[in-house]
Symmetry: C2
Subunit: 228 residues, 2 copies
């Protein structure tokens, strides 16, 4: 049996961590049943057994694995149906793609989503969240740029994805692979918090809806926050 | 013997086509000797035998291959040392990376470089070049945005590449592959025309200088135009 430790909001069913979504989508895609352990921001002691404080943490047969890409590599080695990252050049390309798309999307999605994250997390998490995010961003949560001001910064990343997805069904070709699930996780971060800023990009929308439908057909509807 | 038909300026030694540079760098990397056939914009009739008018065209043992990615695929199949694109997922990832990085860099590099291209091409090419580029851009060559106005648009692409190259020596891992040569070709377009707009990005600079040094150690110094 697999256990997946995932970040949650005040509502334990509201899961929004991009890195946890990568693994949730991957396990679902591989038809591997798993038990979810929701963890709030200030419940890091729950993860003490993993020797660090970040989600996702995957536990399988006493094996403890952290970090979304390391978990994908572990699944490739431990589960015969799993070939997410591949080897050699295929794997190097997946890691380069992940670094590129993370650089393009993550900082801007983070700015877009932080106010909503603040509103959906547990009361007891808010002090910690406000302090760490205000320090990182160099401004108060109340003085952050508006969604309207942030959206243009997402255009290069979504345009690039759209160009790639105009050429093939998935980023990894005829079936979704590590690259697809890495990007899908980042987009689920926005989606679960009530945003779909890729909607003007037809190929990204087609691809996202396809992966979401595949997930929901197995796991039921995804819980979303209402955008503020 | 291999023949490579390449775009050139008024000076037949000034080669600046990004797609031709991909193949020139690949053939050099693979230690495959080739004869270069320089072609000017209005000398398309030279390419008539290929059934179309675009460079690069590669000819090997009566085989005629067009398009830089198709040429890489052809070399993989015809030359035993060549494994540029790989197969299956590795190949799909290379094509996705190429589409992404092209979307991020190509339109902005094109705007940056067009005035210099106009100044280095043969007199007889200028009417054709002005007409096609002004139509594509919707403005005259004289009313184009300045380099200073264009450079910020290149930042997302170079930042993304920099993030990927901070993680590994080459985009394709421990040795350069199709993805590296695809991006390198795009950057050689700027370099040969006198621009190096990736200089603020330390990892991109390290990687570019490494590929350029490997090329020049075999082929001698690359001819560059003086930036206008």
């Amino acid at each position: 049996m697999i256990r997946l430790y995932e970040l949650c909001g005040d509502d334990p069913e509201l899961l929004f961590s991009p890195y946890c979504w990568r693994i949730r989508a991957v396990l679902t895609h591989l038809n591997l049943p798993f038990e979810s352990v929701p963890v709030r921001f200030t419940e890091k002691e729950t993860l003490g057994f993993s020797g660090q404080g970040l989600v996702p943490v995957l536990v399988k047969d006493e094996e403890v694995v952290i970090d979304s890409l390391q978990i994908m590599a572990y699944l490739d080695s431990a589960v015969s149906e799993s070939d997410l990252l591949g080897t050699d050049v295929a794997r190097a390309r997946a890691l380069s793609m992940d670094a590129m798309i993370s650089a393009l999307l993550r900082p801007h999605l983070s700015k877009l989503l932080i106010p909503t994250i603040f509103s959906v997390i547990a009361e007891k998490d808010r002090g910690y969240f406000r302090e760490t995010r205000e320090k990182r961003l160099g401004c108060t949560l109340e003085s952050m740029p508006t969604a309207e001001a942030i959206l243009p910064d997402l255009a290069p990343g979504f345009s690039a994805l759209n160009a790639a997805l105009a050429e093939s069904t998935y980023l990894d070709g005829v079936a979704p692979g590590a690259t697809d699930f890495s990007v899908y996780g980042l987009l689920m971060w926005a989606y679960t918090l009530g945003f779909s800023p890729w909607q003007p990009y037809a190929e990204v929308t087609r691809w996202f809806d396809d992966l979401l439908a595949a997930y929901e057909s197995r796991q039921g509807p995804v819980k979303r926050a209402v955008a503020q």
